[in-house]
C-alpha cells in the first residue's frame, strides 16, 4: 500500500507506559535514530522514583518526550503532537499535555477492565467519546507482537515485553526513520541472549511493516535534516557531557582524575560514565556516604589529583561541612550538584533550580565558593572544564550546578576536536627555597605542595591559618585579614570569566534573565516574541558567583528585568540585593522544565500583547 508522505518541520512525541514497559529505552532509541538522521533534537525523560511501581497504576507511568525538527531546537517541546500510550494509566497521566487535535496511538489490548480500573477510569475512554477532537489510533500492539513472535521459545511474558519494539518500529515507519541503528543496537545489547535478540528484532520489523499494511494510517510523515553548523555530531546527555568534560580537563591539565562519589539520583550517571574510562588513569571511588565522597576527594586533591565529587541537593547538604574545609585549606576541588526537586527527598527524579542559595551561601562562616552552571546538555561539557580551570588556577573548590532536566535530556552536540580545547596549566610546588604554604601568587592562589615532595612538609587544616606561614592562628586581626583575602580571591575571578552575553538588542524594554537549564525554554520564547515584534532580550548566567563584571552594565540598560527560575526567586533575590534594582519574576516549581509558552505569555503580559 503506498501512502502519502507529508513533510513536517517539527514534531514532538511522547512515549508513555508502565515503568517496566521500556519507554526510556524506546525514547532514547528514537532519539539516537533521529539524531543520526540529521534532525536537531531535545529530549525530556520523565520517570517515577519507583523502579517498578505496581503495574497499570498512574504513579507507575514513565514517559519520554522528544522534539525533533528540521530547524534549530531549544526545548523538548511544550505540547506533544503524538502521544504513544501503552496503557490506560499512561493515557490518563499524559493526555492533558497533548496538543489540541494531537494524535494518540494506544495499545488497544491494554484497555481492559482491570487496567481501566487501575487507572481510575469509570468508562473506557476509547469508547466513551471523551477523546473526541484527537486523532485516535487504536492498535492491538500486544496481540500483534504475540502474533509476530509466534513459534519462539520465549515465554508469553517475555514475548509481551517485546511490544515496545513493535511500537518503536511502527513509529519509525510513521516518521520515515531508518531502523538500522536500532537493529545494530539490539544486536550488541542482547548479544548474550540470542532468543531475546531475535525476538526484539522481529518485533521491530513487524511494527515497521504493520505501518505499511494497516489501514489505520493513510499518511506517513517526514522531518528533514536540520541545517546545523558543519562538523561531526553526536547525541549527548548532560550527565554524559559532564563526565566527558572532566576527562578532557584531566587530559588538558595533565592531572590524574579522582572521583569520590555516593550514588544519588539524578547524578549517578556521571559516576557510571567516569568509571568506564579507567584507561585515562581515572580513579573512581564509590564511598560509604556523601560525606566520604567529598572527603575522599579532598584527600585526593591534597595529594595532587584533579579531584571531583558528584551529587544532588540532599547530598550537597551533607557535604557542606567538608566544603568549608576545602575553602579553609584552599584545595582545588569540583563539586557537581545535579539539582532535583526538594526540599528533603523531594522529587528525586524531577528537575528544579532551588539549590542556588545553598550553592552560594549554604555553609557556616564566610565561605566563598565559585559557582558555575551549565545551560544545555552539551554545555555541561564546557562548564565541567571551566569548573576545573577555575579550581586549579585559584586553588579553590568550585561548584558546578546542572539539573535533572539537563542531566537526562539530550541534544546533538557538535563534537570539538581535542586540539580545539583549551589547555589547563597547572603546577605543583617543588622549590624548597622560599616556600610558605599560605603565600600567594598573582591570583592570590596558594602553592600546591603535595605529599612526597622533599623539603615541603607542612600542615594544613580547618583551623584558621596565619597569613603566609599557614600556622594555626587565633589572632583577631589575622582572622579578619584571611576572611577578606579568601573573599577577594574568589571575587577576582570575575576578571577572568567571559562577559554576560545578550541575545538580542543590548538595551530595550525588557531583559529576560535566567541561569542553568532554563536556557532552551527562554531562548525559544524570546525568539518567538521578537518575531512578533516585541522588544525583548535575553541574558543567561553561566557564572553565578562571582557574576561577570559587566553584569551591572547589562542590567542598567533595560527598563524591566524578568528573572525566570524553577524556584521561588533565588537568583532574583541575589540580583536585587547585589545591584539594588527591582526585578519581575516568573517562578514555577513543578518538577518540570518551563514550557516556552509560559515564558512567552509572561513577556506578552509585561510588554502588552501582540
Amino acid at each position: 500500500m503506498t501512502k502519502e508522505v507529508q513533510i513536517l518541520e517539527d514534531v514532538t512525541i511522547r512515549f508513555a507506559g508502565d515503568s517496566g514497559d521500556g519507554m526510556q529505552l524506546t525514547g532514547s532509541q528514537f532519539t539516537n535514530t533521529s539524531a543520526l538522521a540529521g534532525n536537531d533534537i531535545s529530549t525530556l525523560p520523565d520517570y517515577p522514583a519507583e523502579i517498578r511501581a505496581p503495574i497499570g497504576t498512574t504513579y507507575g507511568v514513565s514517559g519520554f518526550q522528544l522534539h525533533f525538527s528540521s530547524n534549530e531546537v531549544f526545548t523538548p517541546g511544550d505540547h506533544p503532537d503524538v502521544l504513544v500510550a501503552m496503557n490506560p494509566a499512561a493515557l490518563k497521566v499524559n493526555l492533558k499535555d497533548l496538543k489540541k487535535g494531537g494524535t494518540i496511538i494506544c495499545n488497544a489490548n491494554a484497555f481492559d477492565l482491570k487496567n481501566l480500573k487501575l487507572a481510575n477510569y469509570d468508562t473506557n475512554p476509547l469508547e466513551d467519546g471523551s477523546l473526541e477532537g484527537y486523532e485516535l489510533i487504536q492498535a492491538p500492539l500486544t496481540k500483534l507482537t504475540i502474533a509476530a513472535l509466534e513459534g519462539t521459545d520465549l515465554s508469553n511474558k517475555e514475548v509481551a515485553r517485546c511490544k515496545n519494539f513493535f511500537a518503536l518500529g511502527l513509529m519509525y515507519w510513521l516518521f520515515s526513520k531508518p531502523i538500522e541503528p536500532t537493529l545494530d543496537w539490539i544486536k550488541l545489547k542482547f548479544k548474550k541472549n540470542e532468543a531475546i535478540q531475535n525476538a526484539n528484532k522481529e518485533a521491530l520489523l513487524a511494527g515497521y511493516s504493520y505501518g505499511d499494511n494497516t489501514e489505520l494510517f493513510t499518511t506517513k510523515y517526514q522531518v528533514e535534516a536540520a541545517k546545523l553548523e558543519k562538523g561531526f555530531y553526536r547525541n549527548v546527555s548532560g550527565n554524559e557531557a559532564t563526565a566527558l568534560g572532566f576527562v578532557a580537563a584531566s587530559v588538558k591539565s595533565g592531572l590524574k582524575l579522582f572521583l569520590g562519589s555516593y550514588p544519588i539520583t539524578p547524578a549517578s550517571d556521571i559516576l557510571h560514565e567516569l568509571s568506564k574510562h579507567k584507561n585515562f588513569g581515572i580513579k573512581t571511588f564509590q564511598a560509604e556516604d556523601e560525606i566520604a565522597g567529598v572527603c575522599s576527594a579532598i584527600g585526593a586533591a591534597y595529594s595532587g589529583a584533579l579531584a571531583l565529587t558528584t551529587t544532588s541537593g540532599p547530598g550537597l547538604a551533607l557535604k557542606t561541612e567538608a566544603l568549608g574545609l576545602a575553602v579553609m585549606t584552599e584545595l582545588p576541588l569540583v563539586i557537581v550538584n545535579v539539582q532535583r526537586g526538594g526540599p528533603s527527598t523531594g522529587l528525586p527524579t524531577k528537575t528544579e533550580q532551588a539549590d542556588l542559595m545553598q550553592a552560594i551561601y549554604g555553609r557556616n562562616g564566610e565561605c566563598p565558593i565559585p559557582v558555575v552552571a551549565a545551560s544545555t546538555p552539551s554545555d555541561c561539557f564546557y562548564m565541567a572544564m571551566e569548573a576545573c580551570r577555575i579550581a586549579l588556577k585559584y586553588m579553590t573548590p568550585v561548584l558546578l550546578l546542572t539539573d535533572g532536566y539537563l542531566a537526562n535530556g539530550s541534544e546533538p552536540w557538535k563534537v570539538p576536536h581535542e586540539n580545539e580545547l583549551p589547555e589547563i596549566p597547572t603546577k605543583f610546588r617543588t622549590e624548597v627555597e622560599g616556600f610558605a604554604p599560605y603565600s600567594r601568587d598573582e591570583n592570590l592562589a596558594r602553592p600546591w605542595a603535595i605529599p612526597g615532595t622533599p623539603g615541603l612538609e607542612h600542615r594544613i587544616g580547618g583551623l584558621e591559618k596565619a597569613n603566609i606561614n599557614g600556622n594555626v592562628c587565633y589572632e583577631p586581626a589575622n582572622h579578619d585579614f584571611m576572611i577578606k583575602l579568601r573573599a577577594e580571591k574568589v571575587r577576582n575571578i570575575r576578571n577572568d570569566i567571559p562577559d554576560l552575553e545578550i541575545n538580542g538588542e543590548d538595551e530595550g524594554d525588557l531583559l529576560v534573565l535566567g541561569w542553568g537549564g532554563t536556557y532552551g525554554a527562554i531562548t525559544a520564547a524570546i525568539n518567538k516574541a521578537r518575531k512578533n515584534g516585541l522588544k525583548v532580550s535575553h541574558a543567561h548566567f553561566k557564572h553565578l558567583f562571582p557574576f561577570p563584571k559587566n553584569t551591572e552594565d547589562v542590567l542598567k540598560k533595560f527598563k524591566k528585568i524578568l528573572v525566570v527560575e524553577i524556584n521561588l526567586g533565588q537568583l532574583a533575590k541575589i540580583v536585587k540585593s547585589e545591584f539594588v534594582i527591582d526585578v519581575l519574576q516568573l517562578n514555577k516549581v513543578q518538577g518540570l522544565p518551563f514550557k516556552s509558552s509560559d515564558i512567552e505569555a509572561k513577556i506578552i503580559e509585561i510588554l502588552g500583547g501582540k
Binding site: G38, F232, R234, K278, N279, A300, A322, E457
Partner: protein, 347 residues
C-alpha cells in the same frame, strides 16, 4: 635492606626522632598520655625505611587530632570524624604514601564510626592510631562511646545510660586485617605495636589506652600501676600460651568457645592446657573472644596483636585495575573518546 635503611639520611646524617618534631609548641595538658604516643612515633619513624616526605598524618577533631601539628611530616588536621575518609582519598590517589590517622574515641567511633568500619571493610592501607581515653576531652568532659555505662560526667550527672563500644571487637567485626592494643604507659610495647602496624599491608588498627589527666584520670590505672599490672594485663604473643599474673601463676584456657581463667599453681592445670595465641588465625572467632575479655569478670585485659591477616588492599586494587584496563584498552585517547559512539557528519 641497606638502601632502605639509608632513606632517612640528610646530608649524610641519619634522621633522628628530633627531625620528626615540628616547631609548634605542643599544647596538650601536662601529664597527658598523648605525649607518650608522640614521642614513640618520633622514635620509630626514622627506623621505618620510609622517606620523611612520604609520611602523611591525617586527623579529625579532638585532643589527639592535634597530633599532625606536632610532627614535621605532611599533615592534615581535618574535621570531626572524617579523618579516615580523607586518608582513604589520599591513599587511593597515592598508594606510594605512608598514611597515618591520629584519632580519638569520639572522633573515630562516634561521629566517624561509618568511615572507620568502611575503611576496615575495604582494607585501605592506613595506619589508624586510636587514642582511647574513654572521655570527651576537648569539649570538656562528656561521656564518650567507649565510656563505661553509668559513668558520671558533665552530660551524665546521674550516670550515662549508654553501653560502650568495644573498639577491638568492632574492628574485628568490620574485617580489619590488623588489630592491636597497647598502653600509653608501656612505651616498649607501644613501639613494637607501631612497628608492627607500619609493616602491615592493609588497614592497621592500634588502640592505645590513653590517660586523660583532667577528665578521666586513672581510668587505666589497674593496667598500668606496678602493683596491679601483672594481674590485670595479658600480653599477647604469637604462638605463646596465655600466661599472666605476678608470678606467671595464672593462665587462660579455652573450654569450647568459653575462655576460663585458671590457676597454674593448684595442680589442676599446667601450661600445656592453656590457649596458645595465634595472631594469624584465619577464623576471627578467637580474636573476638579475646576482645570480649574486657566485659568478663576477673579476666585480664589483653594487649598486643589480636589478629593479623593478609589480603589485597583497596588502594592497591584500584591502581591495579587502572593498570590492567589501560593495558587491555590502550592508553586513553581523548580525541577517540569524544568521537566515540554514533556520530554523524553535517556537511
Amino acid at each position: 635492606m641497606a638502601e632502605v635503611l639509608n632513606v632517612n639520611v640528610k646530608d649524610g646524617i641519619k634522621l633522628t626522632p628530633k627531625d620528626f618534631g615540628s616547631t609548634q609548641d605542643v599544647r596538650w595538658c601536662p601529664g597527658c598520655g598523648d605525649y607518650a604516643v608522640l614521642s614513640q612515633i618520633q622514635k620509630v619513624f626514622p627506623e621505618l625505611g620510609i622517606p620523611k616526605e612520604n609520611f602523611v598524618w591525617v586527623s579529625g577533631i579532638g585532643c589527639s587530632s592535634r597530633f599532625p601539628y606536632y610532627m614535621s611530616t605532611y599533615g592534615f588536621h581535618s574535621i570531626h570524624g572524617r579523618a579516615a575518609a580523607i586518608a582513604t582519598g589520599v591513599k587511593a590517589n597515592r598508594p606510594d604514601l605512608s598514611v597515618w590517622v591520629a584519632t580519638g574515641d569520639g572522633d573515630l567511633l562516634s561521629i566517624g564510626g561509618n568511615h572507620f568500619i568502611h575503611a576496615c571493610r575495604k582494607n585501605v592501607d592506613l595506619k589508624v592510631l586510636l587514642f582511647n581515653n574513654q572521655i570527651y576531652g576537648l569539649t570538656k568532659g562528656q561521656y564518650s562511646p567507649t565510656s563505661e555505662k553509668g559513668k558520671v560526667t558533665k552530660s551524665s550527672p546521674y550516670g550515662s545510660v549508654d553501653y560502650p563500644f568495644n573498639p577491638a571487637s568492632l574492628a574485628i567485626g568490620a574485617e580489619a586485617t590488623f588489630i592491636a592494643r597497647t598502653l600509653d604507659r608501656d612505651i616498649k610495647h607501644m613501639q613494637q605495636m607501631i612497628q608492627r602496624a607500619a609493616a602491615h599491608k592493609g588497614i592497621a588498627f592500634v588502640e592505645v589506652y590513653q590517660n586523660c589527666v583532667i577528665f578521666n584520670d586513672g581510668a587505666f590505672e589497674p593496667l598500668t600501676d606496678k602493683e596491679t599490672k601483672a594481674d590485670n594485663v595479658l600480653v599477647l604473643e604469637h604462638n605463646k600460651p596465655m600466661v599472666f599474673g605476678k608470678n606467671d601463676d595464672k593462665g587462660i584456657r579455652l573450654n569450647g568457645l568459653n575462655p576460663e581463667v585458671v590457676s597454674l599453681t593448684d595442680g589442676k592445670y599446667s601450661i600445656g592446657d592453656l590457649w596458645v595465641h595465634d595472631e594469624f588465625d584465619k577464623n576471627p572467632a578467637r580474636a573476638m573472644i579475646l576482645a570480649s575479655f574486657q566485659e568478663l569478670e576477673g579476666f585480664p585485659t589483653p594487649i598486643g596483636v589480636f589478629r593479623q591477616i593478609s589480603k589485597s588492599t583497596l588502594d592497591g586494587d584500584i591502581a591495579e585495575q587502572v593498570e590492567n584496563i589501560t593495558v587491555k584498552k590502550g592508553k586513553g585517547d581523548l580525541e577517540k573518546l569524544l568521537f566515540s559512539g554514533n556520530t554523524w557528519e553535517v556537511e
